[in-house]
């Protein structure tokens, strides 16, 4: 080519982009893409996607590409800080690390010696929960969780309790073979590159994409069909689809009978302790009805399909009904007919009927077939793998409602009814899933498990299977500060971070001493009701004049709003300055055809006095003498910091944070001895490890013996036992029975009816709790938020490139509302909920549900935070919808429930109801924003530059 260029002006065409390239893993969102970091003259020249990496295969999004500006940010904290003024004043002094760690150690040692619960340790979108959860249990406090409780725990829990897997890290659509892809209320900041790559594949193949989302944008923009559904009603439409499919017999009966509990016999004995539970034989095996023998037999029935409907009497006289019939009866209810759901959902009945027909056609007419024999866990041979090419993906959009658990469960039930689970063209598991539904790990933290100077016997988060697993004190009150695993949130698999501050301030269920937060912006966009949360953080006990939340330690890399409300700041490094592991013990990055994990390696040395948080945590643990963190002689067990831990820590013998390159020779994977050269092996391999799943083990994995054996060998599951898919939610029924008065562990009376309703073993939809009777008149609109694809962490506002794309946010209003309220683009409005009102500038959107307004979340910032100019658009024009969202529901029977899902406790952000009214011109100019007063600059932070001419190692101008 350059020959042709001879007649052109001479320019340097082959300048080497860099002196050095290092691989690592991106941290700009939670995709965890592989990156290649180019360095020139020791500076960041270019960050690109690693083409070899299984997650992103060379592509990189806007956030990842802006990693350079993350590193250059003037909002980077410089040194540990100690508060000297009042909380919120920004009055800090810089201190040395030794002093900082001593302060923390003294405080935490005292707590641990007295009552470890008085430490509440919560982290944000951190990617080291394998470490943080383990650290908390070593400390002995049950009060630990990450941000899942206010993100998508409904999706995770519903999936894990139904299929032993869910979306994103748990499973993915078969992009190569699906014919019809259903996308529900997706959050586009999750799993974004893989989904974008997948959508492109669907487009290439001509598969149809249907998106259910109140807002048409992002992925919905390219969908073939957009269903502009009204928020909170997805479950209705999904169950109506299920109903239409069921009524027409367009479901996979064989699959349900073979692999789920659909044929299991459910005891009908109202008013008894067995009612609604599955009948089992003396060995505990569930029973099904053998139609030929006309008798109950233990599952599975290998010679025929057991009864799927009917009413039978067991030998012991108990009356039983196959679970499938109960599910069918539920779906046959008038409430789920297309006509009945049309008004609430905004989806016409004819559309639902047509979609059901399209789903049936795609699923059952000419499914793809792979001619590969496989053997199921009961020894049955199958000659082929028959596909079921309908798949789904969903995330926070449907999850963050008070009916989110059942809505998420409905999506998994739809897939299950179609038999579209881990088959060609369907949604497929990613290792280490499937796990038993639910996984076997129970949460630790019962009263007898929490003792001074003693670790918990297990991790603080896990999966309960009955009231006996709840974390309650002797009075039946919550044992955790966030009330996870209490009667208010029994299946709280990820904790309830959004209630920690409120509860700690109230002293409900008890007072804590120290709140320890890591990269969670709880003083702003990560809290509901942000304004009052700040008051709680600064509120003092009038008698003692001490803060009601006595001590707050905060670790972050940047000058977020939360820094101002902490007492001790532990500055973190950036992701390019530290070791990290993307571990199978935490949130994995596998794909349907391979297991994988990855590391980050430091590509730059910090130029300021900061330390990697994970290393600090290990140091702190060693100073506290936490058993797993010190040797027998009391020396730090991981003196080399997090890198040392990544290599040498073993959770179980042979199982550590990294699954690849184990064993002394580096040849073992999954299980294997510690390999001193493991990190170098990762680096040599591009900072990741991936193991292909054997071909015969890539489908039907819940019961595929080849897979189960492989997974057990890899230590993904404890033993190679089949995993039963839960069409019928027996676990839920156990809680419902308690609410009905059965059993020794009883919910408070105030909660009985709520639990009885929500813990329904059958598919269910109920209105979100904010939908009170007069809400349609008072607050006729739904208010939701989305994260833009070019922003993830609230951090990204300090990124000079990303903030140019989203420096302020608008309230998008549908045309109908614009007409009724006489609004034009750029007008200012009051957005008002039952909880408060804020000012916002509107933009009219046509592709928007007629009863919904929305905005980008976490663009609005507190003036002065993030080392931005006090007049930054983020502060002057941007706004935060959080101010309108109450973390508690209105009082009912003398009690205010959390604004959360009653099953999991997931924050119900998207239940928000509001109205908008046009501001007068005077109001638009003078009305104050919440918390308008600017925060001051922090010690050590230099003023932000007024211009950037960054050229990555090049001199300004030309090379």
């Amino acid at each position: 080519m350059p020959d042709g260029a001879a007649k052109d002006r001479a320019i340097a065409l082959s300048v080497p982009p860099s002196d050095e390239v290092k691989t690592s893993t991106c941290y700009m969102c939670a995709c965890r893409c592989g990156i290649r970091v180019h360095l020139k003259d020791g500076q960041l020249r270019y960050i690109e996607g690693n083409p070899d990496h299984p997650v992103n295969k060379g592509v990189l999004c806007a956030k990842g590409s802006a990693g350079i500006m993350n590193q250059l940010s003037p909002a980077k904290l410089q040194k540990p800080l100690k508060r000297v003024g009042e909380r919120g004043s920004g009055d800090f002094v810089e201190i040395e690390w030794d002093e900082a760690l001593q302060i923390a150690t003294d405080r935490l040692a005292k707590i641990r010696a007295e009552d470890p619960r008085k430490l509440a340790f919560f982290t944000g979108r951190d990617q080291s929960q394998g470490l943080t959860g383990w650290w908390a249990s070593q400390f002995g406090t049950p009060n630990h969780a990450a941000h899942g409780g206010f993100c998508s725990v409904n999706m995770a829990a519903a999936g894990l309790y139904t299929l032993g897997g869910a979306f994103w890290e748990f499973g993915e659509p078969d992009w190569e073979a699906t014919k019809l892809f259903l996308l529900f209320g997706v959050a586009e900041d999750h799993d974004s590159n893989p989904i974008k790559m997948g959508l492109a594949k669907l487009k290439e193949r001509g598969a149809k994409i249907v998106s259910f989302n109140p807002v048409r944008g992002g992925y919905s923009a390219i969908a073939d069909e957009w269903i502009g559904i009204t928020p909170g009603s997805d479950g209705l439409v999904i169950l109506s689809l299920c109903r239409e499919l069921l009524r027409a017999g367009k479901i996979d009966v064989d699959f349900l009978a073979a692999f789920s509990n659909a044929a299991h016999l459910v005891i009908e004995a109202p008013g008894t302790a067995d009612d609604g539970l599955i009948a089992r034989d003396s060995e505990g095996r569930p029973l099904v009805w053998d139609r030929q023998a006309e008798a109950a037999r233990p599952f599975p029935l290998t010679h025929a399909i057991p009864a799927m409907k009917g009413r039978f009497t067991l030998d012991d006289g108990r009356v039983v009904v196959p679970a499938f019939e109960l599910v069918a009866r539920r779906l046959d209810e008038v409430a789920y007919t297309p006509e009945a759901v049309a008004e609430r959902s905004g989806v016409p009945a004819a559309t639902i009927r047509r979609l059901a027909a399209e789903i049936a056609e795609a699923a059952f007419d000419a499914p793809p077939v792979i001619d590969r024999p496989w053997t199921d866990a009961w020894g049955r041979q199958h000659a082929q793998i028959v596909g079921r090419p309908v798949s789904a993906h969903a995330m926070r959009g449907i999850s963050a409602h008070s009916n989110g658990f059942h809505t998420c469960r409905a999506i998994h039930i739809l897939q299950l009814l179609l038999g579209a689970v881990d088959r060609p063209g369907a949604w497929r598991y990613k290792p280490p899933f499937p796990r038993p539904a639910p996984p076997g790990q129970k949460p630790a933290g019962k009263p007898d498990q929490v003792r001074p100077n003693t670790p918990l016997p297990g991790p603080p988060l896990g999966f309960v299977t009955g009231p006996e697993d709840l974390l309650l004190d002797e009075k039946g009150q919550a044992q955790r500060i966030d009330k996870a695993y209490s009667w208010e949130a029994p299946l709280a698999a990820h904790g309830l971070m959004h209630l920690v501050i409120t509860n700690a301030w109230k002293g409900d269920p008890y007072r804590i001493d120290t709140l320890f937060l890591y990269m969670a912006n709880m003083a702003w966009n990560s809290s509901m009701n942000s304004g009052e949360v700040l008051e709680m953080l600064t509120d003092k006990d009038p008698e003692s004049d001490h803060y009601k939340i006595p001590f707050i330690i905060y670790a972050d890399a940047f000058a977020s709003e939360t820094v101002y409300y902490a007492d001790l700041i532990l500055p973190d490094t950036t992701y390019l300055e530290r070791w990290d592991c993307i571990s199978l013990l935490d949130r994995p990055i596998c794909d349907a055809e391979g297991a994988a994990d990855a590391i980050r390696q430091p590509v730059l040395t910090p130029d300021r006095d900061v330390r990697p948080f994970q290393t600090v945590l290990l140091d702190l643990g060693a100073r506290l003498g936490l058993p797993g963190l010190v040797t027998e002689t009391g020396e730090p067990r991981y003196p080399g910091g997090y890198a040392d831990y990544m290599v040498n820590h073993e959770r179980k013998p042979g199982v550590g944070p990294l699954a690849g390159f184990r064993g002394e020779d580096g040849q073992a994977r999954g299980r294997g001895a510690v390999n001193a050269n493991q990190l170098q092996a990762y680096i040599d391999n591009g900072c990741f490890w991936r193991e292909e799943i054997p071909e015969e083990a890539r489908h039907h994995r819940f019961a595929n013996q080849a897979y189960l054996d492989w997974a057990a060998e890899m230590a993904f599951i404890d033993r190679p036992a089949p995993i039963l898919l839960q069409l019928y939610g027996e676990v839920l029924q156990r809680f419902r029975l308690a609410a009905e008065g059965q059993g020794a562990i009883q919910p408070p009376d105030a909660l009985r009816s709520r639990i009885e309703t929500a813990f329904d073993p059958l598919p269910l939809w109920y209105p979100p709790f904010e939908d009170e009777s007069n809400v349609e008149a008072d607050y006729p609109l739904h208010g939701i938020t989305q994260r833009p694809m070019a922003m993830y962490h609230s951090w990204h506002t300090q990124n000079a490139w990303l903030r140019q794309i989203h420096a302020s946010n608008r309230l998008y209003v549908p045309k109908a509302v614009a007409e009724s309220e006489d609004l034009q683009d750029d007008d200012w409005v009051w957005a008002e909920s039952r909880h408060g009102r804020i000012k916002a500038q509107v933009r009219i959107q046509r592709a928007l549900n007629a009863k919904t307004v929305w905005t980008w979340n976490a663009i609005g910032k507190r003036s002065g935070a993030w080392n931005l100019d006090q007049q930054a658009p983020e502060a002057t024009r941007g706004f935060l919808l959080n101010h309108l969202i109450d973390e508690l529901l209105p009082e009912k029977g003398g009690y205010r429930f959390a604004n959360s899902d009653p099953v999991t406790g997931q924050a119900a952000w998207y239940d928000l109801r509001l109205k908008v009214t046009k501001m007068t011109d005077t109001e638009a100019e003078t009305a104050a924003k919440p918390l308008e007063a600017a925060l001051p600059s922090l010690p050590g932070l230099a003023p932000a530059p007024d211009r950037l001419t960054y050229s990555g190692g090049k001199k300004e101008g030309k090379a």
Partner: protein, 246 residues
């Protein structure tokens, strides 16, 4: 010389942008900025980057438009836009200093920044808004089609593509020779009805845009409009008896 090449360039390198798959994620926008701030046009400056009015030089931007058809659902179309490397590039001919030029070998329109006096006339001459004045350096910046990547012998051959094309997660950007009718990009344009932007202005842009494919909102293929009850007389689960053989 800022006259256009006398003969048509041997190649017409350019981009084909697929509006059917672009989800508006801004990956191309930022990766372009990142590559080019240290590449041929280095730096791409930003003014007031942490202030009240941040404004930098970007060579590629993604707009979002709504399209309301007479019938059917309103659509949202994400629309990336960078220099189209026009055959009749007025930005080149108006340049008084000889800084702007169109390469004879491949048709890429470039700015020789050392010759640019920052008059801005080329930006006025471009109907598409493809040129941006660097707010600090004071010279005109524009898409180079990553001329310092696509011929760069210091990087692996398969990676010699514009940064925006390589990084796009949705495969919405394609790079190639649009003068060659057999090239992949030319074939895409032919198959998908690739379009010129503002053809009425006569600039003959090289880059082409593939319009969104027709949306399949209603029935797909011959699917019936609704499913029939499998066994109307047998009740909701009447069909089960048949399936299970009685």
């Amino acid at each position: 010389m800022t006259s256009l090449p006398k003969r048509p360039p041997e190649k017409a390198l350019g981009l084909v942008i697929d509006l059917d798959t672009c989800v508006g994620c801004q990956a191309c926008v930022v990766n372009c900025k990142e590559w080019n701030t240290g590449g041929y046009p280095a730096p791409l400056s930003d003014l007031d980057p942490y202030g009240a009015n941040p404004a930098g030089a970007w060579l590629n931007r993604v707009h979002a438009f709504e399209v309301e058809p007479e019938e059917g659902q309103p659509q949202v179309v994400h629309f990336p836009k960078s220099c189209l490397h026009c055959a009749d590039a007025a930005c080149v001919t108006v340049c008084p200093t000889g800084a702007s030029y169109k390469r004879e070998s491949d048709g890429i329109v470039l700015v020789d920044e050392d010759r640019c006096m920052g008059c801005g006339l080329c930006a006025w001459a471009c109907p598409y808004g493809a040129r941006e004045m660097d707010p600090v350096v004071g010279v005109m910046k524009k898409c180079t089609l990553c001329v310092d990547r696509i011929y760069n012998e210091a990087i692996p051959e398969e990676e010699r593509q514009p940064a925006c094309v390589r990084t796009c997660p949705a495969s919405a950007r394609h790079f190639g020779d649009l003068a060659d009718p057999d090239s992949e990009v030319s074939r895409l344009v032919a198959e998908r009805g690739g379009r010129d932007l503002m053809p009425e202005l006569g600039y003959h842009p090289t880059n082409k845009y593939l319009p969104p494919r027709p949306r399949r909102e209603g029935c797909q293929s011959a699917a019936p409009k609704a499913l029939e009850p499998a066994s109307p007389e047998g009740g909701f689960l009447g069909w089960l008896d048949r399936v299970l053989g009685g």
